[in-house]
Subunit: 236 residues, 2 copies
């Protein structure tokens, strides 16, 4: 029997951002499949509705890919795909597999010879990079920096050096309730002429993306508390 | 007078990929502005039509941001923005500023205090990473590798080491007519257990994304000649 296809389905980054997030192809795709592997069933159902799902929710099959289930070997995420059914993979926000745990499912799909189709949608890392004005020909996304203050300060210096040496944009994130201490640390540690882009609440009504030098940011420090933010630094 | 807003407008990666590429918000945005900074006027006009532009093409103001004009200081790309008009930035394919020259315009916009709004759309780098199954928590995009064979081979080894040392996905591209020699070089240079993802013709009818070990790829080498391709390697 031929295998099904695994569709990678991005979801919105913010509330009321459906029109900014979904393509017509994505809407068609979710109306043609009824089985999903999801990080959070409740939000996944909400996103599918926002995306224009016509199938009754009761007809959907949802496999829970949240933390407590991920390494549970008795859960068979691939049964449908192996029986020839097309299946959608959705994460909590943004693109499955980018700064989120979906990559493990995709990896296994490749090993099993399952066709993988990525759909266009919002990625906060990509939107931030595009809007930063920094080098998009060479960039690194590092995920989270160390939590320890000394290690983190050292890491910021390292990223600054990497950026200068390789003419490369350095991108990182923080848990939103720790954004303000991280920003403080960056402003204290980095060179006054290093440029910092802060991309905050992307695709929401409160979105702002601004690139300034460290010296300029020091004059007026924005409040990023609990606001999803991407940090980008560039020094050349 | 308040400044205009610079909208960063992604364009399709392939022919007949409009439904896979454009969000309703993008269509609304292009119908609300009539001034653009573009890398190629002819393709920009084609994309705007595909995106659902209703404004007559004759009413559009197009600033040419192609190579021969980019450093021409007599061309004022920002006149409209400074007069309070909203302006769209479009590249040849994908997202402006990512693996393409648009970043210079965005950089200058930030320096002038102009608001920058990135729109969701296709990025081949992002789609490839999502579909690779590789680490999306840490990744580097390197653009092009060196053309010289010895340097290139050395660079492939370096990227493999970087990937192992930092648990980091390494992403790169090549001019499509040189894809086959590059692939040959990777298969000759990299460790048999290193995994290579080839993401080819993304969003087109011929799209394929496959992740295999170098040893597996060596058994059956795909023909990538003149097909836009993203290469990703991952070794851990």
């Amino acid at each position: 029997m031929p295998l099904g296809t695994l569709y990678l389905i991005p979801v919105p980054l913010a509330d009321e951002a459906a029109a900014k997030s979904f393509t017509p192809y994505l809407t068609n795709t979710v109306n043609e499949i009824n089985e999903y592997i999801v990080e959070n069933e409740k939000t996944a159902r909400k996103f599918l509705k926002e995306a224009g799902l016509k199938t009754p929710q009761s007809e959907l099959i949802m496999h829970d890919y949240s933390k407590h289930n991920r390494d549970n070997s008795t859960v068979d995420f691939f049964k449908g795909l192996q029986a020839g059914k097309n299946v959608g993979l959705m994460s909590e926000a943004g693109c499955p597999g980018i700064a989120d745990p979906g990559a493990g499912i995709v990896e296994k799909a490749h090993r099993m010879g399952i066709k993988v189709v990525p759909l266009v949608g919002p990625s906060s890392v990509l939107l931030a990079l595009m809007a930063s004005g920094f080098n998009g020909q060479s960039f690194t996304f590092h995920g989270y920096l160390p939590i320890d203050k000394v290690d983190r300060s050292k890491r910021i210096k390292e990223l600054e050096n990497l950026s200068e040496r390789n003419d490369q944009t350095q991108i990182f994130i923080e848990t939103p309730f720790r954004n303000n201490p991280l920003l403080e640390e960056i402003l204290k540690t980095a060179h006054p002429k290093t440029r910092l882009c802060i991309a905050c609440d992307l695709t929401s009504a409160n979105e702002f993306v601004q690139t300034k030098t460290i010296a300029e940011w020091q004059k007026k420090v924005p409040d990023l508390h609990k606001r999803p933010t991407i940090f980008l630094i560039y020094h050349r």
